[in-house]
């Protein structure tokens, strides 16, 4: 293991988050089995008191879980010089076989944790714990991913030894490489651009429609999910090329570096935020008819839809700007 402040912070916090998640999940199991708001039993009153504390703490831990994705990328990027052959985070991630799985789990937990925070926010507005079961069920779904992430990240960090010879993004994100990345690279640019524009437009239109007249909740949710995938593919397929101003450099990680104005961070943050907000709108929909949330959920959905549109529009603006000012010209 390399003693780097970022690694230590990630290591310790993921342990803490895991412990807290296990504790909260145990409490969640009890809630799912024993919760009965109509009862005035001692257990029920204890559960009510405890859930208040637990969801508050979990909120803070999950908020850090969101941040940790970016800290992870930043750390991987900042220590790449320790490995022979690495030029950016890609090199650090491929030092051993746990790097990419960790990243993937972090993206996944980012999305689920974000959704949980939205659910929790709505639940806290209702006076009778209206989403308590859904909230703890989602926490129970999140728990294994958080635990897996902690374990995989542990293996990854312990397997990091300096001077390992690793690969640089140039070889991994090139068309001669095999795997999903090369499939994406092989995508013709023009259809990719069209796909990206269409999905972004459709998502923003769905978001605006929901924001203005409260319709099309599931459409926005589905489109947000699709747009997330399409945008990641576009990032590798053509957006990166414009940012690097090189016709064959497809790396999705170099863009977080100083040479490119750290533009990767706002891009990924906006994309993930828009996705989580768009999906969250759909997650809340089944609970719209709960009496204590009758007026609250539509209001939250409207806010989320508006924020998702802002995030996606900003994302697209930055991308378009990069394409416009780029000295690389492609059709």
């Amino acid at each position: 293991m390399i003693l780097n402040p970022g690694i230590l912070a990630l290591f310790i916090t993921s342990l803490l988050i895991s412990l807290m998640t296990i504790y909260a999940a145990c409490h969640g199991i009890q809630i799912l089995r024993r919760w009965d708001i109509a009862s005035g039993s001692e257990l029920q009153l204890i559960l009510e008191r405890r859930t208040y504390l637990i969801s508050t703490i979990v909120t803070y831990f999950l908020a850090f879980q969101l941040v940790s994705l970016f800290l992870f990328i930043q750390t991987a990027d900042s220590i790449c010089h320790l490995f022979v052959g690495a030029m950016c985070a890609v090199g650090t991630l491929t030092v051993n076989s746990f790097g990419y799985p960790t990243l993937l789990l972090k993206v996944l937990t980012f999305i689920i944790a974000g959704l949980w925070l939205i659910l929790n926010y709505a639940d806290n507005r209702g006076y009778d714990y209206p989403l308590i079961r859904a909230k703890y069920l989602l926490l129970l779904i999140l728990a294994p991913f958080v635990l897996a992430e902690t374990v995989v990240q542990c293996f990854y960090f312990f397997g990091l030894t300096p001077d390992i010879i690793t690969s640089c993004c140039g070889t991994l994100y090139s068309q001669s490489a095999r795997g999903i990345a090369s499939e994406i690279l092989a995508l013709p640019v023009i259809p990719a651009k069209i796909l990206f524009s269409v999905s972004m437009l459709a998502t923003c239109a769905a978001g605006m429609r929901l924001f203005l007249n409260g319709k099309g909740v599931y459409r926005l949710a589905a489109l947000s999910g699709i747009t997330f995938v399409v945008s990641i593919i576009s990032m590798i397929s053509f957006i990166s090329l414009y940012i690097y101003e090189m016709p064959s450099h497809h790396c999705p990680f170099c863009i977080v570096q100083k040479e490119y104005g750290y533009v990767g961070y706002p891009l990924y943050l906006l994309l993930l935020s828009g996705t989580v907000l768009g999906l969250g709108v759909g997650l809340l929909q089944p609970f719209r008819n709960k009496k204590s949330l009758e007026h609250i959920i539509p209001a939250i959905q409207q806010k989320c839809a508006g924020a998702a549109v802002v995030a996606f529009v900003l994302f697209t603006s930055i991308v378009s700007w990069q394409i416009l000012v780029s000295s690389l010209k492609m059709l």
Binding site: G40, S41, E42, L45, R49, N124, Y127, Y129
Partner: protein, 228 residues
Amino acid sequence: MISVRDVSKIFNAGHPNEFTALHRVSLNLPLHETTVLKGPSGSGKTTLLGLIGCMARPTTGRIFVNELEITSLPERFLTEIRRSTFGFIFQQVNLIKGISALENVMIPAYPTGEKHSLLRARAMEKLGMFNLDMRAAARIECLSGGEAQRVAIARALINNPAIIIADEPTAHLDSTLSREFMGIIKELKSEGVTIILASHDPIVYDSDVADRVVEMRDGKVIKGGKRP
């Protein structure tokens, strides 16, 4: 209707000094009526008032105010209910020293964001009900016990609560002031305010203002109901 259903309160549960202050109390108190809780010291009057007024939560049982169940409400809803629905007069006056009587009366209304001049006028009016207008600017520590008690009553009224909870309100008042206090209670009652008092003062529980007297002992209700 304020409906107390099967409420128990156990202090220090699971510790050697565990103490059951309320034992499965059930009570129905109609709104717009005045109820007096009567009973020896330690019988659980203050504890019960605290639970009804959302100051504490029971160990078991539920309390309904107008069909709204209050014991399960998350804390952020309780603050609002405490502020808008209940006015409290405590056994210990619980006034804030170092600031004036007027400011003490105004404090519970600050979070509502009401205009300061309106608020001030209303606070003066409440103090006026107790002939305390002259003492409005006086600091709390300069007030006599009786004056302090009346300032505390004025403070309980500042948000025009629907329910007033008073714990031994006449404990520091002489007979004249106590009767005067009951006169004010009568006036509030005629305005439709629900009043719940705890007291062992005959001036309170024998007063014709009291619609019902609930007798408590050892954390249980032993007698309660409408006066014949």
